[in-house]
């Protein structure tokens, strides 16, 4: 892999438009319009409209097209398929974050860099599992880059969600579960025990479900609120809605309901309380602290750049372990729900 010359030139650099690969003449998840964009996944802070052409994993194309609109020029490539871009060898590999999410591997003059995008190591039936890629330099996210973040297994979390849903149903209540509309919502749908009751989704969730079903991801039957006539009909239902619905009149139709929020932030009591919901379920599509460390170690990389999240502590931690680590400033945001409710509209 790396040449004998020690740390070499930057294959990927942060610029005002986004992470730029000069050798390949393309940007990764640019936050300004560019000619050629390689997209790790279709979340809003990584996939922005206005670029002339996009490249993403074939599995992520339907959702990205939904997000960017029918006019956007998007090319899908299979995971592991290598493209020659201006002399740089570029390939995409599963990141385990959401459907079609990728790490970007770039090889140029014997040097290998991998940009992680957002990723998780925990199993998720709605997307391909994270694949460790050996590289010289790894650019990793750090949304949950502190040792306080350690997820329990998805089985445990979904057993809790199922129990909550079931007991609400027995009490004649609906269960409203807030989670990000793209990724989190489908992971919930695919993982809960659909035999407990009917499942209702918010329109924003259903719009994404289509892309998932198109790609062959098995989701249980979902219904829209318009399929119901009276409030009482929602008793026993699981309602999956984006966090933005939390303070909206859309919820009034459910009559008596219990609400919950599914996010990695729910690991912290203060965040649970600020969310002002009945239950907080710890469920994240990002790597927790042990996973970040495992993923970084698995790359074998000697140089690590840390982007969005708890960058400083992770950089310091890696340095103390003998790695070359730096902060790389980006405009990525991490997991929705991180914001303090007192500074942003809820």
């Amino acid at each position: 892999m790396a040449g004998a010359g020690g740390p070499t030139a930057m294959l990927v650099t942060p610029t005002s438009r986004g992470l730029f690969c000069a050798a390949g003449d393309f940007y990764i998840d640019p936050w300004q319009p560019v000619d050629r964009a390689v997209i790790t996944h279709a979340h809003g802070d990584h996939a922005r409209p206005g670029s002339a052409s996009y490249l993403c994993a074939a599995r992520g194309k339907p959702v990205l097209q939904t997000r960017l609109g029918p006019e956007a020029s998007i090319e899908g490539v299979r995971y592991g398929e290598t493209r020659d871009m201006n002399g740089a060898k570029v390939s995409l590999h599963p990141a385990g974050h959401v459907l079609g999410s990728s790490q970007v591997r770039i090889e140029h003059r014997g040097e290998v860099w991998v940009v992680s995008g957002d990723y998780k190591l925990d199993p998720d039936p709605t997307c391909d599992p994270f694949q460790p890629i050996r590289c010289d330099t790894f650019i990793t996210e750090s949304t949950f880059g502190l040792p306080i973040y350690r997820w329990c297994t998805p089985e445990e979390t979904f057993a809790r969600i199922d129990a909550w849903w079931r007991s609400n149903g027995q009490a004649g209540r609906a269960s409203v579960l807030f989670g990000y509309a793209f990724g989190k919502a489908q992971r919930i749908l695919a993982s809960v025990d659909a035999s407990i009751g009917p499942i209702v989704v918010h329109g924003a969730v259903e719009a994404l479900n289509r892309g998932y079903r198109e790609c062959g991801v098995a989701l249980p039957e979902t219904r829209m609120v318009t399929d119901f006539e009276a409030k009482k009909d929602f008793a026993g239902a699981l309602v999956v809605a984006p966090p933005s619905a939390q303070s909206s009149p859309w919820l009034k139709r459910f009559g008596d309901y219990s609400d919950a929020f599914a996010s990695g932030w729910m690991a912290i009591r203060g965040a649970r309380r600020r969310r002002a919901v009945d239950q907080g379920f710890v469920l994240s599509d990002h790597a927790d602290w042990p996973s970040l460390n495992r993923a970084i170690a698995a790359t074998g990389a000697q140089r690590i750049f840390v982007t969005h999240g708890h960058t400083a502590p992770l950089v310091q931690w890696l340095r103390e372990k003998g790695l070359e680590a730096h902060t790389m400033k980006t405009e990525f945001e991490g997991e929705a729900g991180a914001e303090e409710p007192s500074t942003t509209p809820s």
């Binding site: 040792p147 306080i148 009149p249 708890h310 942003t344």
Partner: protein, 536 residues
Amino acid sequence: MKQFAALFEAIDSSTSTKAKTAALAEYFASAPPEDAAWAAWFLTGHRPRQAVPTRRLHAWAAEAAGIPLWLFEESYDAVGDLAETIALVLPDPQGGDEAPLHTWIEERLLALRELGEAEQKARLLACWASLRGTERFVFNKLITGAFRVGVSALLVTRAIAQRFALDAKVVAHRLAGEWSPTVETWQRITSPDEMETRAAQPYPFFLAHPLEGDPARLGPREEWLAEWKWDGIRAQLIRRPGQVALWSRGDEPIAGQFPEIMADAPKLPRCVLDGEVLAWKNNRVMPFAALQKRLGRKNPGRKVLEESPVIFLAFDLLEFEGEDWRARPLEERRARLKDIVHSIPGGSVFDTSSQVRAPTWETLAVARSKSRELGTEGLMLKRRGSPYGTGRTRGDWWKWKVEPYTLDAVLVYAQKGSGKRASLYTDYTFAIWKAGELVPFAKAYSGLTDEEIREVDAFIRRNTTERFGPVRTVKPELVFELGFEGLQRSNRHKSGIAVRFPRMLRMRKDKAPSEASTVDDAVELLEAHLDRGQTT
């Protein structure tokens, strides 16, 4: 510990008072008395002296977690709570532990304090290693103290009363002050024999009515005694054989919050005093905000005691040497009261309210106009020769306030403000009581300090029960004193009352929602307002 941790989870995950009370009642029903005593002790705000110094907790938790101390501190920064940070960073436990709460506290937690550093560390790490998620957090909370979990002493009181079919007032009294969490105490707290506790019960407070308009309507000035109306906490001090108690008007025992009053109370002969607790410094009353710092704070620290010292300003004597004095004439009660208080050797925090001497209604009105300078709310007018009445009997006591119209109302709805307050809930709707129901009657936006706004904002976020678009329905718990310029009848308002220029005068942390004003109170103000309209 498991059961107590489960109780904590049930309380912590609910925003409903009813659900919290039910969870508590269920715990008290099923926990062994040894555990119940400790649970009640912690949940009513008691704390043992910290068994392990904070510095060691940081260092040992970091070591056990296999992370450097700086990374532990970063984590603590992100979490904001030491007990929780420790619980989160420690490695997963090696097996569970079935020991009950009292064993955990008496044999493990409290025992830590006596040990040398090395032994203490070994034992603490063993404790951590045998506790799971929430249990570990709760255990750490018990070590670090300040076990604030969204449960008030009032809820604990209610739950115990509910479970053991007792009068909540009796339970409140038994839980007040200092007690040790033993089986014997628990049996006393839950004892069906209410007689013994009744010995410390207060008399019903006699309440004054607001006087609006011309005081000359009350008759000749000579028939009335005038005193300043102080802006403090109305309270009854009970000094009976073997009993010293201090009750607020909300029938809450508040002795624990005012240790200086309790320290001086034994200097009194056997008696029951009615008066006002005031923050008092340099021969002058301090703003109500100073007194507010003392509210809800059990065993206040030296700093608070020095910053906001209190006195008990007595204005009536209800019982003397075992005899009920309430039927005796006002002057006789006052004369004896002065004797009692002023013959305490060496002085005390007790004082008596003095008369405002102004021979005519006109000169009294001039005196009243100085109320604000003196830090009072106006005048109290009490009929000479009158007995100490019951409840709101009308006619003998009047409050003649400077602020023309005030009502105590409960916050029920909230909405975000605009401009720099756009992220905060600053626009409030208030309700008063009508036939046992809270009915909205006024909206107010101004009058609070930034600090108070933040406090109320946080309360609203934690206690939202419903949302309609931008409007949140809030658990009716916070009481505010509202002031306004005028009021009139209105069919458009559910309360039947419309108010002019309402504003928040202050938070009334000392008042329970049940003590808020009623529509009848508002009508009374309204009628007085009409009177005044005719006379001026």
